[in-house]
């Protein structure tokens, strides 16, 4: 049979249909399997008087003919501001040497010592390839590279998921290896070495400072294992359970943090660079329930994490997704977090006492509660585009682990709260 003349059937049909249906322009219909989809986000995080971070994310994913998916994500963030250096507040002004050895900074009486030299730009690239192996097995492999001025991180991961029970049950297992390298300006301080404070302009200050530290950087490796189970309970309910194990070894000390050594009156005598163990093993248990009510969705999760540093933490996270009549969604969010202190956490050291093997005054590994209250508003646009706004208030409340304050420390704020605001705009197209 003779083929239709070489005329453009599609174009002719388009005209015919436009007349019939009174529709104006019509888009191409094919699977769009060869098109990229993008998610972009701009996030602001600001702590009162402390760190400010601005982050831009662009993520693209592309689906191929046999359901393979390639996802790539580029994140750029800049961090500026001040962060607690670990020393305790005093009734008198304090002077600290910057971690680089180049210059000093003063802290006013009564204030929590903050090191204001934080300024960094981080570039992170993530890639993931996912493909079905059989009708019920999905396999995925990915990698992650992250670089900032004094830090480099690389990781690879792979996981596999299998569906059972008419796809109502999914079991997954994954593994990842990460390598991190830190190379701070001015080198890494020797454990528990005294912070050198003196005349930075003197001719021998630089060589004296260098004597307190190693020239080179250091690194750590981390292995993570993950087991997961997802179960569809009924039309309205989905449950997910995860167990993960993480083992890190290498340098995990924060080279920018110190501990105050105080006398019986609570007066700082010296500042010692902190020292943490070179191995850490974590276990985490995670449970999540998503319940679809008639119109709304409740998404609640709980995580219990414990490690051999003796930090135990509990996290409860709840989101409630409420669709509005106009197709927009509103999503209140609440998160509560609490942790116990690491076994070697010390808010300060007492003069004359034996220095322990490990010690850190970093409030982030001390006893702490944290809470997030937020709200997200989503607006679906035409052609599958989506716009959303999120705003959240975050509060960290460090607490005493029971260490008895001495002298003037009784009247000073040792565990100051951190308040932060997060704002995010996301656009998918």
């Amino acid at each position: 049979m003779q083929l239709t003349d070489k005329k453009n059937v599609k174009a002719l049909l388009l005209t015919a249909t436009t007349t019939l249906l009174g529709t104006a322009s019509v888009q191409a219909a094919e699977t769009k399997a060869d098109e990229w989809q993008f998610d972009t986000a701009l996030m602001y995080y600001g702590e009162t008087d402390r760190v400010t971070a601005v982050e831009a994310i662009i993520a693209g994913s592309k689906q191929f003919g046999n359901d393979e998916i390639l996802s790539l994500k580029l994140t750029v963030d800049t961090l500026t501001g001040a962060s607690a250096n670990g020393a305790v507040a005093q009734n008198t002004p304090q002077t600290f040497t910057r971690p680089s050895g180049k210059g000093q900074y003063q802290i006013k009486a009564g204030e929590t010592p903050l090191d204001d030299t934080f300024k960094d730009t981080r570039l992170q690239l993530t890639g993931q390839w996912t493909q079905p192996l059989t009708e019920r097995d999905i396999w995925s492999i990915g990698g992650n590279l992250s670089k900032e001025y004094d830090y480099f991180s690389a990781a690879i991961n792979s996981n596999i998921a299998r569906d059972f029970n008419k796809k109502n049950t999914t079991v997954s297992a994954g593994v990842s290896f990460a390598f991190d390298q830190i190379d701070p300006e001015g080198g890494i301080p020797n454990a528990f070495h005294t912070m050198l404070i003196g005349d930075v302009d003197s001719s021998n200050f630089a060589s004296d400072f260098d004597a307190t530290r190693k020239e080179s950087g250091d690194d750590k490796t981390t292995v993570d294992l993950l087991l997961g189970l997802t179960q569809v309970i009924n039309r309205n309910m989905l449950v997910q359970l995860n167990y993960s194990y993480s083992a890190s070894s290498g340098y995990m000390t924060d080279p920018f943090k110190v501990l105050s050594v105080v006398d019986q009156q609570g007066i700082s005598q010296t500042y010692l660079y902190e020292n943490r163990p070179d191995s850490r093993k974590k276990h985490a248990f995670f449970g999540q329930v998503k319940y679809h009510f008639d119109t709304t969705i409740l998404d609640t999760s709980y995580r219990y994490m414990m490690d051999d540093w003796e930090i135990d933490s509990h996290t409860v996270d709840t989101k409630y997704i409420i669709p509005l009549a106009n197709g927009h969604t509103i999503e209140p969010h609440f998160r509560f977090y609490t942790q116990t202190a690491a076994e070697f956490y010390k808010p300060f050291l007492l003069e004359g006492q034996v220095i322990p093997q490990f010690a850190s005054a970093d409030y982030r590994i001390g006893e702490m509660d944290a809470m997030t209250i937020g709200m997200k508003y989503g607006i679906p646009l035409s052609d599958g585009e989506h716009l959303s706004f999120r705003i959240a208030y975050y509060q960290q409340s460090p607490k005493s682990d029971g260490t008895q304050a001495v002298g003037q420390l009784n009247d000073l704020e040792l565990y100051s709260k951190v308040d932060a605001i997060m704002a995010q705009i996301s656009y998918s197209f």
């Binding site: 059937v9 599609k10 388009l14 007349t19 019939l20 219909a29 699977t31 197709g327 052609d383 599958g384």
Partner: protein, 276 residues
């Protein structure tokens, strides 16, 4: 529509979903009542009844017949809504009961869109001719349903009238709709999985409707010019197009190209899934 029809709405608003579904059902029944060739009271039934006379038509009927006219032109006369009367002699019941050339030749004078005349207010065909909107009516209903869905909400919606399918856009979170194309002629293992984010798909073909005589197979796809079965068409073909009525026409037209069905579609850069 003589087949299961469904409306899928990706949303949580049950009330609105119900309203949309009722409006669409109402529209589907309206089109069915207006254009079913089985209903002698329908516009289509009346036009067939009054073949030979000049009949007044409304604007919607004019637009549909004009579309059929354009399909006839685009297909160089292969797609012809006056071909339905061939069913009087072709009964695809898997028997060996094929018509004689004499029977076929006897009907050919009453087939041919070019023997009709259409104005924006009247339609005329020769006595004993018949029109059948079967090839485009259901797909037209799907496209009309999509217009209603889009007007009533921005929620992602899929319309499925017996395998003729269209969507208003991607599902939530820009997900594609995953559609399993089931068809009487497809064995279960042959079911085609199709993903669409926009546009429509339609399927033509029925491998269960054929005649077999002296080892020769006569499929149900008939060439209007000869009145005989088209040779070696695919068992079924699913075509994607911006709108369902286009997909339906293209699927039917592809089958009419017989063994060259796939060639025709790929030549025109049209996305399709064929089962042979």
């Amino acid at each position: 529509m003589a087949s299961p029809c469904e409306v899928l709405i990706d949303c949580n608003d049950k009330l609105l979903a119900n309203n949309i579904a009722s409006a669409i059902a109402k529209e589907a029944w309206r089109i069915e009542d207006k254009y079913s060739r089985y209903n002698i009271q329908s516009v289509c039934g009346q036009l067939n009844e009054k073949a030979g006379q000049s009949c007044a038509i409304d604007n919607e009927t004019f637009l549909l017949l004009q579309f059929a006219d354009q399909c006839f032109q685009i297909s160089n006369g292969l797609f012809d809504i006056t071909s339905g009367i061939l069913r009087k002699i072709w009964h695809f019941d898997c028997s060996d009961n094929i018509p004689t050339q004499k029977e076929v030749s006897h009907l050919l004078p009453f087939i041919g869109w070019s023997k009709t005349s259409l104005t924006d207010a009247t339609f005329t065909m020769l006595p004993n001719m018949e029109i059948d909107l079967g090839g485009i009516g259901k797909e037209y209903a799907v496209d009309k349903a999509i217009l209603i869905a889009k007007k009533m909400s921005t929620y992602p919606t899929l319309i499925n009238f017996g395998g003729d399918i269209a969507v208003t856009g991607p599902r939530n979170e820009n997900q594609a709709w995953l559609i399993g194309v089931e068809h009487p002629s497809l064995k279960e293992k042959n079911n085609v999985m199709v993903k669409i984010k926009t546009g429509a798909i339609a399927t033509s073909g029925d491998a269960n409707r054929y005649l077999l005589k002296n080892g020769k197979r006569y499929g149900h796809v008939l060439n209007v010019k000869t009145g005989w079965s088209v040779e070696e068409p695919p068992n079924a073909i699913t075509v994607a197009a911006p709108q369902c009525i286009q997909a339906g026409f293209l699927a039917t037209l592809a089958l009419l190209h017989g063994k060259d069905a796939e060639l025709f579609l790929s030549d025109q850069d049209i996305k399709y899934w064929a089962i042979r």
